[in-house]
């Protein structure tokens, strides 16, 4: 493991992707990143571009118009990457879930489009639960780095 990989694990940067929904989980996510809980002591920090990020935070259910944007943002995050789905809508569809998916506007949870590594259920989850989910995401990121280590030489 090179120094860049170690640095990525010890300070994972987040990109917040709001797929759709009621904004409750977005407010809780931003509350979890403020000085009250201060996750910057773990190196967790919000960035403005998916190209700078290690962890993608997805909230809300995906409307059908937003499908290409979700795929594009996911592809822009550099490898190795981890996706953390926050909230009931992003985990299983929650209130927008339908047995026979014939909804004209809403597709469902983002894990139908992109691979999700950590799920944080709740409506909306507590800031502590979100930090717990992100920390689990960091552990998955470290495992992915280890798996990719033999091919990388830095």
């Amino acid at each position: 493991m090179g120094i860049m990989d170690k640095a990525r694990i010890y300070s994972p940067w987040l990109y917040h992707l709001h797929c759709g929904g009621c904004n409750g989980c977005d407010i809780e996510t931003l509350a979890a990143l403020d000085p009250r809980w201060d996750p910057e002591r773990f190196g967790i920090q919000l960035v403005a571009s998916p190209r700078h990020a290690d962890i993608l935070i997805a909230t809300g259910c995906v409307p059908k118009q937003f499908i290409p944007m979700v795929k594009r943002v996911y592809e822009q995050v550099p490898e190795p990457k981890v996706v953390v789905a926050i909230g009931g809508c992003a985990c299983g569809g929650s209130l927008f879930y339908n047995e026979d998916p014939d909804n004209y506007a809403i597709l469902g949870s983002p894990d139908l489009l992109i691979p999700v590594d950590v799920y944080v259920p709740g409506c909306a989850p507590k800031p502590e639960a979100i930090i717990n989910g992100i920390v689990q995401g960091i552990l998955k990121l470290a495992a992915k780095k280890k798996a990719a280590a033999p091919t990388q030489k830095s």
Binding site: R36, G92, S94, Y97, Y119, P121, C123, K126, E128, N132
Partner: protein, 186 residues
């Protein structure tokens, strides 16, 4: 005094302790719903009031088992099922750290399995055994003493049959539901 006050950042992993002043577990926190397997009678009340289709009932016809399941990914922790439960089997716990790595993790599900009764005539499953026992108990609590013997005797005749077979045999066994009204008289 502001210089000497305690820091406002909550140290999250250690603030889970409920005895601390700024605890991560406040009073009345709605966490993961927990079900008491002894008390649950499988009456479907929780599945009917569930807002996000999180609670579902799965009946296994061949093994005569009913699975009552809460899928936490769709649960909104709204406490409707806890308020509606007739036997107070459900309650909201204080557990909130429920992040998991996959959809199939057993930690995402709150499961209870119950035995279903099998109809003596047609062989299909109908109500859970605990549900029938509870209904019997509630029936005998508030029953009119004039008709108690008739109702109990009728119930013994039909308790092995499913509702559709009961309807079919109502004439044969003389167990019409309005019979006790006729017995009482005008």
């Amino acid at each position: 005094m502001a210089h000497y006050s305690s820091p406002m950042t909550l140290n999250y992993p250690s603030s889970v302790d409920p005895n601390k002043k700024y605890s991560a577990i406040p009073e009345g926190l709605r966490g993961v719903p927990e079900r008491d397997e002894e008390k649950c009678i499988g009456c479907e009340a929780c599945a009917r009031v569930c807002t996000g289709m999180a609670t579902k009932i799965f009946d296994n016809e061949s093994e005569a088992k009913r699975l009552v399941q809460i899928f936490l990914f769709r649960c909104t922790f709204c406490q409707h099922c806890v308020d509606e439960c007739p036997t107070e089997a459900l309650k909201m716990s204080k557990k909130f750290e429920v992040a998991t790595g996959s959809r199939d993790d057993p930690a995402n599900y709150v499961d209870t399995t119950l035995d279903l009764l099998r109809c003596a005539n047609c062989g299909h499953t109908f109500y859970p055994k605990k549900y029938v026992d509870k209904a019997n108990e509630l029936l005998l609590q508030k029953i009119n003493p004039l008709v108690k013997d008739v109702v109990v005797a009728d119930f013994k005749k039909v308790q092995d049959y499913c509702p559709s077979c009961r309807r079919a045999f109502a004439y044969k066994y003389d167990t019409h539901t309005k019979k006790h009204v006729w017995l009482e008289g005008p």
